[in-house]
């Protein structure tokens, strides 16, 4: 298991380097930061001077090397837009995104699994059919539109929930949370639904099909033949076996949640790293973009690693193999 972890970590490192390279090469094409940084009254000489200052006159591999060099030391440079260290800017924002992602993920997982189990058990019932059809509407509309419709309905027409922002936040020192205040909790509802709806649908459909598959297995028949209660058959026996593939996909969906947060954060003016990234693109804030993409990659890679380790926790058969040849 240790060898496995090390190998995965090494692979992850290569992934990170490649992602970094691709991401960095993209920045050459999103525009020129200099124009944004200088005002309407800039001269040609100003532009040249600033370009040299930022190292933008260097060839792209040199720029990338310099970025990596800094990144290794935890220095992602200074945001062109905010004039502050990128690490500060990101650490200030990351809590908002993670909080949103977590609430949406929990929504998606709880409702996704529950509805998936329900629709699998009541396979041909009318309620299950309605849920299945409705769930398709969730994946048949773009996220941004769902967000705007929710705002229109719940913020403008009904006035129940706020349309933007995080509400009041409480600073816990290292974490600025909105979950401790009522306005913060209210503010997270719409964005979390918007962000989680798609993932919820995916998880639900996956759980359903896996569950149907598992329910056909001998050990489920045997469990029934032993006279176990339905609840025990479904949740103790079937669900647990459903979870292995579900965890894989859910792990990947968590990555998507963070990526799709870009859209949700834009619609709801949620002050997280996704919004930061969109602003960075708009202002060609290269250090912020690079750091964001690296951060996201690190997150994806760690999620993957955690998912792999979760297998070990859930499936005893894998645990038994740990001393053997492994994968």
């Amino acid at each position: 298991m240790l060898a496995f972890t090390i190998r995965r970590a090494f692979q992850s490192l290569i992934v990170l380097l490649v992602v970094g390279l691709v991401a960095f090469s993209m920045f050459n094409f999103v525009g020129d930061p200099v124009d944004n940084m200088l005002g309407q009254e800039r001269t040609g000489a100003d532009i040249e001077r600033l370009r040299t200052q930022l190292g933008l006159d260097q060839p792209f591999p040199v720029q990338y090397y310099r970025f990596l060099e800094g990144a290794v030391q935890g220095n992602f440079g200074i945001s062109y837009r905010q004039g502050r260290p990128v690490s500060d800017v990101i650490s200030e924002r990351i809590a908002a995104t993670l909080e949103l992602a977590m609430v949406s993920a929990i929504l998606a997982i709880v409702f996704g699994v529950a509805l998936g189990v329900f629709t699998a058990i009541r396979r041909n019932g009318w309620a299950a059919n309605i849920i299945m059809s409705l769930s398709l509407i969730g994946v048949s509309l773009p996220t941004f539109l769902i967000g705007i419709l929710l705002i229109y309905l719940f913020a403008v027409e009904l006035g129940w929930l706020p349309s933007f922002g995080r509400g009041e936040t409480v600073d816990l020192g290292w974490w600025r949370t909105g979950l401790l205040t009522e306005s913060g909790r209210k503010a997270i509802i719409l964005p979390a639904i918007t962000l989680g709806l798609y993932q919820m649908t995916l998880i639900m459909r996956l759980v359903r099909s896996e569950m149907l598959e598992v329910l056909r297995q001998d050990y489920i028949r045997f469990a029934r033949a032993r006279g176990l209660k339905d609840r025990s058959v479904y949740f103790r026996h079937a669900l647990k076996n459903t979870l292995v593939p579900v965890i894989t996909v859910t792990g990947m969906q968590l990555g998507s949640i963070i990526a799709f947060a870009i859209i949700t954060e834009t619609v709801f003016q949620w002050p997280g790293v996704g919004l930061l990234f969109i602003n960075a693109i708009r202002f060609v804030d290269i250090p912020v973009m690079a750091a964001y993409l690296m951060l996201i990659s690190v997150m994806f890679v760690s999620i993957n690693l955690v998912v792999d380790l979760l297998y070990f926790a859930i499936d005893p058969r894998l645990r038994a193999d740990r001393s053997g040849s492994g994968k």
Binding site: M26, F27, F29, V139, S140, L141, S209, G255, A259
Partner: protein, 310 residues
């Protein structure tokens, strides 16, 4: 004789389990016909559309924001579904926009399918370090969300395309970007099926008969994976259409002079509070209908073909 055998084939197909299930499933029938109507409407848009919204010379800005079925107060023109902010007929724009959305969707799925099936076959049949490498790349791809892949591809392609070709490029970049984020599904299923089929006697026999691996893969293995591939393709099509819309919202989609459904929705959402509901509603309903019918078809296909999809 030929004609007879042809009708015979048809009637046999009609009586097959597949068609039987189709005829027994109203949802599948309705979805199929709705999807067909939309696809045909898009393909023959120039025949059905009263206007050509992509020809700027025919536009009259004063028609902007015409209400559905109400003659415009300046020009007297009347539009079934109203006109958008540029005076384009919404109905025509939807048909033409469907064209772009469907083209992007189909092309992206085709690209993903070719790439995924090929790599899946190779990974499954050849195996070894090549197979391992392909699957590793697939893992990496899976961890990286499609939307970011698309943005990266878009950014890079922009740098490499000459400025004159950027409009045409935008569409192809969408195709490649969306295709790149979907191929893994195909590759995984095909690889799994290939590894199973590879060891079956008839494939071994063909191998011993000296058939080349490529011909074995194409003639023997490929037909066995068509079912699952078809299901994934259907679901991917719906995903691709939605992805296109989302990318257009982020401003990396189809150009506004040649709007896709996604671009239309992006434009329309700006008029949600102002009362020009038709600019948003009709394209959104069209997109919903299209994606929903394709998804429902995919669901039904999955039930019928019952491939064990992961």
């Amino acid at each position: 004789m030929r004609g007879f055998s042809f009708t015979n084939t048809i009637s046999r197909a009609w009586k097959s389990d597949f068609m039987w299930s189709f005829r027994r499933t109203p949802v599948a029938i309705v979805s199929f016909f709705v999807a067909m109507i939309l696809i045909l409407g898009a393909v023959f848009a120039p025949l059905f559309a009263p206007y050509n919204p992509f020809d700027p010379a025919t536009l009259n800005l004063m028609n902007g924001f015409s209400q559905p079925m109400v003659p415009n107060q300046f020009t007297g023109d009347s539009f079934w579904l109203g006109a958008d902010d540029q005076g384009r007929d919404v109905f025509s724009t939807i048909l033409y926009g469907l064209r772009i959305s469907l083209f992007v969707g189909f092309a992206a799925v085709a690209f993903a399918m070719v790439l995924g099936v090929t790599l899946g076959l190779v990974a499954g049949y050849v195996g070894g370090w090549i197979g391992a490498l392909i699957m590793r790349i697939a893992d990496v791809q899976l961890t990286f969300p499609g939307i970011l892949v698309a943005m990266l591809v878009f950014g890079i392609a922009k740098g490499f395309t000459p400025i004159e070709q950027r409009d045409e490029m935008a569409i192809w970049v969408l195709v490649i970007a969306i295709g790149l984020s979907e191929w893994v599904q195909f590759a995984r299923v095909v690889r799994g099926a290939t590894m199973v089929e590879k060891n079956k006697e008839y494939v071994q026999a063909a191998h011993l008969n000296g058939r080349r691996p490529i011909s074995i893969m194409v003639r023997h293995i490929l037909p066995n994976v068509l079912g699952p591939v078809l299901v994934i393709a259907t679901i991917s099509l719906a995903l691709a259409i939605i992805a296109e819309a989302t990318l257009s919202f982020l401003g990396v989609g189809a150009p506004p002079t040649q709007p896709s459904l996604g671009t239309l929705i992006r434009i329309g959402q700006g008029f949600m509070f102002s009362g020009e509901w038709w600019i948003l509603l009709f394209p959104a309903v069209t997109l919903l209908t299209l994606a929903l019918s394709v998804n429902l078809l995919g669901d039904w296909l999955r039930d019928v073909l019952n491939p064990k999809l992961r």
